[in-house]
Amino acid sequence: MSQVETKLRETIKELLDRGEVDLVVGHEAGSLPLRSRPVFIRDAADVDRLVWGSTCSNNLATHLPRLFVRPKNSRAEYAPPTVGIVAKGCDARSVLGLVKEHQLPRDKVVIIGVPCAGMIDIRKAEESLDGARIIAAQEEAGTFKVETTAGEKVLTLAEMLADGCAECSHPTAPEADVVIEGDARPAAGERYLQVEAFEAMTAEERWDHFTSEISRCIRCYACRQVCPNCYCVTCFADQTKPRWIGAADELSDLMAFHIGRIFHQAGRCVECDACVRACPMDIDLRVFTQKLPKDVEALYGYVAGVSAEGVPALLTFSENDDQGFISEP
């Protein structure tokens, strides 16, 4: 067990014992090798379930808004809980973004900042094994001892690092109420490389990639459901008045859904890659989600979720905003 993990458990135990939080959302070991999953700790006796490492990739902020929903038909006085969240940089940015959009009360959320060294991409682990399957895995300080059907293998975080983490701008929480000290990865110097490579392709190549990837979509909406920013009670994709997206499995409707969902993230996406990981069809979503954060930063100097203050980029304007796209007859 790492020092950070020990400190994390101790800290959360204290917070619960002192009544400073009613519950903490963190990560626990998953039921499959190299997986972890969200856990909701309400009892100090359960803190030993908490883990911290490079498999803790879920964006936990997505679970928070639901915890603050008033119970229906309740005559009792509603007292919102105080919720702690184990937060990497991306989780914390999502929380701050949700606070900015009035979806979470900042004074009722305790951001417990943890040092993020980067998350593994399980697909990269699987691909490096030449067909052998993973039976079990043990993490220790940046390396993974993996037991496979073809014997034991050691894989490093560097080999399996998720693409999103390689370009991460905020490995640690920009704002945290409690900080667990430790070694985080440095903020990436070069970002949006995947987007730039895609921009360099011809329009036909880009369209081919977009259509071939999106045609794999089965409309399970996992991408939407794991995203902390997708909290609309009725998503545009489910609206019937008007019916934006048809019921049938039709390619241009699939594209319209993804264009719509991704565009709704403009100025809000914190690049946590939760949608990319959640997709059961392994759609190359990242190259499509990262273009808008890049443009918003380049055009308007705005980065989502670094502060709970201020106005979201698409709710405001500047007199000097770029006009190069305007057609002049």
Partner: protein, 335 residues
């Protein structure tokens, strides 16, 4: 012909011969993993795979299909696709799932002509498993790596060769049609087959499922559901990937001058699944929706058609974004 063997190197020839009288689909390498796809002359056939990400139920119960169309006042049932299809490469769990779906879609009282048409015109050739995946648990729900339920023919991978065994008349007819390309299996082949299946079975982690249906009926109000629901994000991944989930929605949509009635797959995990026009939702928490899915598959279908609707394929376990593991839920219930 009841049984036949073919060298893997000649498998391509066999599938070409099959394609002459029927559309033939088989396992083809995809950008990630392997998928079941209509074969063409240059398909890259792939036999080393766990399972397809998408279950083959799609070939009988597509994600969306037009079931009727017309103009004005009258809607006509659409013509059903014709022609024979041979599906090669279904794992025994997915083939067993077809037998379960038959109980729903081929029930005489509620016969589904679209499903029936596809099922009748399709010959299923299963491919037994030599190596289970980390999340597989078919033996805990009445299946096995070499089980033949739902298939017309089952193939065993013996390393250099495939051993085919016909399980139904349709299967026998298929093998007989191509018997010139098949050789008689030997006693060694049978021994190899038995060993391969036994080895695979031994690797499976059993899940306790005794008395599950009965125990579940007493757990309707148990707190376990809200615990699961707290983590569940409400996507349709588990349902859409599941080989036995079969709920569907029907929508009428305009297409040019016509109205089309479209049937699509649906998922009880979506909040809108039970949303009523008044705005009331009888299943208004994720915990209640999770309970519905587990109850439907392990309790209600047992009451209704005498079967558990889970074949232990493990897709829901592998792909759930929050790692909700049905095996853990079952063990907690069966305890």
């Amino acid at each position: 012909m009841k049984r036949g063997k073919i060298d893997k190197a000649d498998l391509g020839k066999l599938l070409v011969a099959v394609s002459e009288t029927a559309q033939c689909a088989g396992p083809v390498a995809d950008r990630v993993g392997v998928k079941l796809e209509m074969l063409s002359a240059d398909s890259a056939l792939e036999l080393a795979y766990d399972n397809f990400a998408l279950s083959p139920k799609l070939w009988f119960f597509p994600r969306s299909e037009v079931i009727a169309s017309g103009t004005g006042d009258a809607l006509e049932t659409t013509l059903l696709p014709e022609g024979e299809t041979v599906l090669f490469g279904l794992r025994p769990c997915d083939a067993a799932a077809l037998e379960l779906l038959d109980k729903i879609f081929l029930d005489e009282a509620y016969l589904d002509p679209y499903y029936k048409n596809r099922r009748q015109n399709t010959t299923v050739v299963a491919l037994a498993c030599n190596e289970p995946d980390a999340a597989c648990f078919c033996t805990s729900v009445g299946g096995g790596p070499g089980a033949g339920a739902g298939a017309d023919v089952i193939a065993f991978d013996l390393g250099d060769a495939l051993l085919f065994e016909a399980l139904t008349d349709k299967g026998k007819a298929l093998l007989t049609q191509h018997e010139k390309l098949l050789n008689a299996p030997t006693g060694d082949d049978d021994a190899a087959k038995t060993k391969v299946i036994a080895d695979a079975g031994a690797k499976l982690k059993p899940v306790k499922t005794d008395g599950l249906a009965d125990k579940l009926s007493g757990l309707f109000d148990a707190p376990v559901w809200e615990v699961i629901g707290e983590r569940c994000v409400g996507c349709g991944t588990c349902t859409y990937l599941c080989p036995t989930c079969h709920c569907f929605g029907i929508y009428d949509e305009k297409a040019g001058e016509q109205v089309q009635r479209i049937r699509t797959q649906d998922a009880c995990m979506f909040p809108q699944f039970t949303l009523e026009a008044s705005g009331h939702n009888p299943r208004d928490t994720q915990g209640v929706r999770a309970r519905q899915r587990v109850m439907h598959k392990f309790s209600y279908t047992v009451d209704n058609v005498g079967e558990t609707f889970c074949v232990g394929c493990g897709r829901c376990v592998v792909h759930c974004p929050v790692n909700i593991d049905i095996r853990e839920i079952l063990e907690e219930v069966a305890a």
